[in-house]
Amino acid sequence: MSRMNEYVNKERGMLFIPFITAGDPSEEATVELAFMLQSVGANALELGIPYSDPVADGPVIQKASQRALAGGMNLHRALRLVKKIRLRGVEIPIIVFTYGNLLLQLGRETFFREARENGIDGLLVPDLPFEESGSLAEQCKANGVDLISLVAPTTSEKRLEAIGASAQGFLYCVSSLGVTGVRKTFHPKVLSFLAKARRACDLPIAVGFGISSKDQVGALKGHADGFVVGSRIVSLIEKRAERLKKAETRAEALTEISNILKDTLLGNRKVVKKGERSTQNA
């Protein structure tokens, strides 16, 4: 069984998949943030690669990209940063979230070599829809990396079936139209959409875009297997960027973020560990 299937499956309760940007605000901070997110009960980590033109992202993640780029982060460095994250003790699956052009320039061969050497489990390319991803999906399979697919409330039933049938890892369901970012409401058709997604895919379905509160997570219970949180976490990082950069104030800032996430979003989840098949994270 792959690490992804071990940690991200329907028996794990409500799956929590956080997103952070690699190098935001520094490499050291990213390593510690990844470890902190595992300790508050993350089932997998999405590691965003900063890009100059992140067309699927709202203002919060755009700014995170700019902070990380200013620090010299790029796709190749981020892949190697995963090794440091592993050495720090992060065992949950790591999914690299990168725009297509960065992957194109690095080259797939280099990507898969680095993925193997550094312990990368998944790949998500937000601007590579199903129709453009055939050859990459095949290469991902051959290299033991899950290519994560997205579906949206506007995805036609025909496409939803095709995407659901070939999905790897889990199916990422976009809760609302538009870009990433915190929102109060979901798309009105979200629950019927999630029901369709469930029928179209045997893998866990996780909901993302706009999730920031316990109430929203509660509302998804019974309709989805998990949730992805990006902008909410990134904005907590943004407010503490300077303290996260400095070694002497980092631990305190991490504790603050961890407490806020527990209070407002997660409650008391258990750390997700290998082999424990019935972690009942609510």
Partner: protein, 413 residues
């Protein structure tokens, strides 16, 4: 070169909306429904005679088409070579070829039942054209424009507001055209259900490069006929400026199967060796921008580089995918024209013919003058004069102040 071949072999299995390796639909899933719906709506419209009749009727009675072809006798004599002919897109309503596409796409939006339109704009010409057609049909219109461009192009911002459009300054990224397109795509993703995105050039995900080409090909179709009438033969060469490349595709499409040499002028800015240019084909590498695989100005890691040109309408870091394909196959030839060469051509056209071209169009003219020099006087070269230069007077004034008078620069006695 090895990398290039590797990329091509990796990508060639995906073929939808491609011009060879180039094009495609690299958009987030939230936009897939919209581009598929648009493709369907466009295909239906292009087979509907009533739709095409309405498009032509508006261009005739509202924009003033057909635009004339003008023989530049004095300029041709001065250059000393082929006869230079201009396709006068500057004489369109709103002063540029952009209106052709705006009319087509807004009509299409109406046919598809969309209630609002949005557009991106760099210099403001496409924004003005879209706001104009939106006013004509009474549709709400929102134009995304980089915050830096809003500052640089105050006159066009005012024109758009006067036309009833809302101008949204985009401060993300560098605050220029590419960021305006990013933001328009984001807004469209959030409002796809009732909003049409009117893309201004032959760029973006499929079907946009195709749609914009088909709504601009009237330029070349008319000019081909007019050249036959005026000279009794096809032109020997046709030339246009290329940013995204809509006026050039509009001109080239009519001549692709003819023995006509095609030239595209990219913005060479301060020189392609300086790093301050927008010469995508000369200096770019294969990449993905705004939903399309094409040549792209980018750093070694794949981050997009902000281009430069004296002409705000040419400083785009990518290029339309069909141009990338025509360059690769050798069917069209692309060369960089510097700011200085464009200004010289602009001054010469004023002095010899009494026409003030847009800075964008002056790039196409400058390349045509270079090529004319190498041709015989009984040969002809057709240039798309894509827009008029009134909007650029402030920029021109600054440059010519720096170099004494225009009279001296042009060498015109």
């Amino acid at each position: 070169m090895i990398r290039q071949q590797q990329i091509e072999s990796e990508e060639k299995t995906e073929n939808k909306g491609r011009f060879g390796t180039f094009g495609g639909q690299y958009v987030p899933e939230t936009l897939m429904h919209a581009v598929l719906e648009l493709e369907d709506g466009f295909n239906q419209a292009m087979n509907d005679h009533a739709f095409l009749d309405e498009y032509r009727e508006i261009l005739r009675n509202y924009s003033g088409r057909p635009t004339p072809v003008t023989h530049c006798k004095r300029l041709s004599e001065k250059v000393g070579g082929a006869q230079i002919y201009l396709k006068r897109e500057d004489l369109n309503h709103t002063g540029a070829h952009k209106i052709n596409n705006a009319v087509g796409q807004v009509l299409l939006a109406r046919r598809m039942g969309k209630k609002r339109v949005i557009a991106e704009t760099g210099a403001g010409q496409h924004g003005v054209a879209t706001a104009t057609v939106a006013a004509y049909f009474g549709l709400p219109c929102k134009v995304f424009m980089g915050a830096v461009d809003v500052e640089r192009q105050k006159l066009n911002v005012f024109r758009m507001k006067l036309l009833g459009a809302e101008v949204v300054p985009v401060s993300g990224g560098n605050g220029t055209l590419k960021d305006a397109i990013n933001e328009a795509l984001r807004y469209w993703a959030a409002n796809v259900e009732d909003t049409a995105y009117i893309v201004g050039s032959v760029v973006g995900p499929h079907p946009y490069p195709l749609i914009v080409r088909e709504f601009q090909r009237i330029i070349g179709d008319e000019a081909r006929r007019q050249m036959m009438e005026q000279t009794g033969k096809l032109p020997d060469a046709a030339c246009a400026c290329v940013g995204g490349g809509s006026n050039a595709m509009g001109l080239f499409t009519a001549f692709l199967n003819d023995p006509v040499t095609l030239y595209g002028a990219e913005a060479g800015g301060k020189g392609t060796e300086t790093g301050e240019h927008a010469a995508t084909l000369a200096k770019g590498r294969l990449g993905i921008i705004h939903g399309s695989m094409t040549y792209l100005l980018q750093d070694k890691n794949g981050q997009i580089i902000e281009p430069y040109s004296i002409s705000a309408g040419l400083d785009y870091p990518g290029i339309g995918p069909e141009h990338a394909s025509l360059a690769e196959s050798g069917r069209a030839h692309y060369e960089a024209i510097t700011d200085g060469e464009a200004i010289d051509a602009l001054v010469a056209l004023n002095h010899c013919e009494g026409i003030l071209p847009a800075l964008e169009s002056a790039h196409g003219l400058a390349l045509a003058m270079k090529k004319a020099k190498t041709m015989r006087p009984d040969e002809t070269i057709l240039v798309c004069l894509s827009g008029r230069g009134d909007k650029d007077v402030n920029t021109i004034l600054k440059v010519l102040d720096d170099h004494d008078t225009g009279n001296e620069r042009s060498g015109e006695a």
